[in-house]
Symmetry: C2
Subunit: 234 residues, 2 copies
DNA sequence: GGACTTTACTTTGGATCCAATTATAACGCC
DNA sequence: GGCGTTATAATTGGATCCAAAGTAAAGTCC
């Protein structure tokens, strides 16, 4: 989604997300243009886009500055996403799952089971889960019959969440991650159950709670606080 | 907010909202630039902004096209706004209203009562209510302690809702509007009540329902369908 | 010595120019 | 006559240039 993005917007997004600019730092068009080896024009276009995405904010008439993201911002963004995905889940439950959709969701549930079945994680499993998780959520949001929800979520997710794509190196971190993913898997299964049974309110509630798995479940699972952010916010 | 906006973005927003371009119509940079009497550069910048706002969408590499807004889009956008404002209301209720904030809300409640006290509307009252309503909602969203909710709502409201700012001319329309505003006022008062009592779930529910006043309450109040959209979606 | 004014420089906004990609249309071939 | 190919026109993306606004600094006056 943003790795192979060679556009100026994509590159800037990456740079900002990786913290190459200090928060609150003023970004000059010329400086950035030189740094990226392009002219001012694409940078100007990119600045406007990134402003709308919320990564930059206007600094009066002195151009733009990197928006600060406090911990509160992150929590609130996660909360908003949870609420929006909760809405999608409720809609989906209330409108009734088609058999095809139920099967499709079940596929990803099964993939999750397979992934976690061997009782531990290897490094690349985290990426596999990330992909799986993305599909799972996209299916629900995309099938809710509301063209607006997906857009709203997408706009919100421009905030640098996954930026701290926690590097999992030692086995201890892998073990922490494994326990987290087990919980996420359980939540996924409960959500699908609610969707199947047409339990809109329950599906919504579960989805809202599920959004906080990266934020609120750490201490509970004895995960402590992951370094550099609090792990993935799936 | 968008009347005196002389910027290219503002003017284009207005033109699109007023339907000067057909939905699905391809917008060429040169054509628009000439029509607005400016060069291509500001138009290009504006297009990127309007794309992010959701008013335009890319037409492959053939530039941009005016996004179509179906009735479903509007309903879903209203739903999303309701959910987000509902979140704000719940947060506010749960964190507890300060005395100052309670007073401030009460001021606008009273203004609403005063406005509707005389038993009927005159034309300019609709604008007064619009202003009042805006303040009321902004206070709640702005005081929820979540910097993200307001942004998300703002982004969502770029969709051309209030565009069809229904011209109220005849007394019959004024009467319909009056009954609608009475209901809105009641909902406002209930919401404040819930906020005061710290009833988060109830505040959220009421706010969600309140969002639909422009869409779902027409037939119930014998308002029929307002011409040119369905009236204001306050 | 401090504050105000003026000047020079930095920086953004707008316009024009050039290149590259793409769509359209014309032409030729099967 | 239809389809494929080629060439031309149109349009977007990128670069450079000019103007306007603002900031910072230097100088002067009180």
């Amino acid at each position: 989604m943003s790795d192979g993005d060679k556009s100026v917007v994509g590159r800037l997004r990456k740079l900002i997300g990786e913290g190459h600019f200090q928060t609150g730092e003023r970004l000059g068009e010329v400086a950035v243009a030189e740094q990226l080896g392009v002219s001012r024009t694409p940078v100007r276009l990119a600045f406007r886009t990134l402003e709308q995405e919320g990564l930059l904010q206007r600094a009066g008439k002195r151009g733009f500055m990197v928006r600060e993201f406090t911990e509160v911002d992150v929590r609130c963004a996660v909360e908003v996403r949870g609420v929006l995905e909760g809405l999608a889940a409720r809609r989906l439950a209330e409108q009734g799952l088609s058999a095809a959709l139920a099967d499709e969701l079940q596929v990803w549930i099964q993939k999750g089971r397979d992934l976690l079945a061997k009782g531990h994680l290897v490094e690349r499993d985290a990426d596999a889960w990330s992909e799986l998780n993305r599909h799972f959520h996209e299916i629900i949001v995309g099938s809710a019959g509301s063209p607006v929800i997906g857009d709203a979520i997408a706009r919100n997710n421009h905030l640098p969440f996954a930026a701290a794509d926690s590097l999992i190196i030692d086995s201890e971190a892998l073990d922490r991650e494994y326990r987290k993913l087990q919980l996420a898997q359980l939540q996924h299964e409960l959500i699908v159950q609610a969707l199947r049974h047409g339990e809109g309110a329950r599906a919504e509630m579960l989805m809202r709670e599920h959004a906080f798995i990266g934020l609120r479940y750490g201490e509970l699972l004895g995960l402590g606080r992951a370094p550099g952010g609090e792990g993935r916010y799936d």
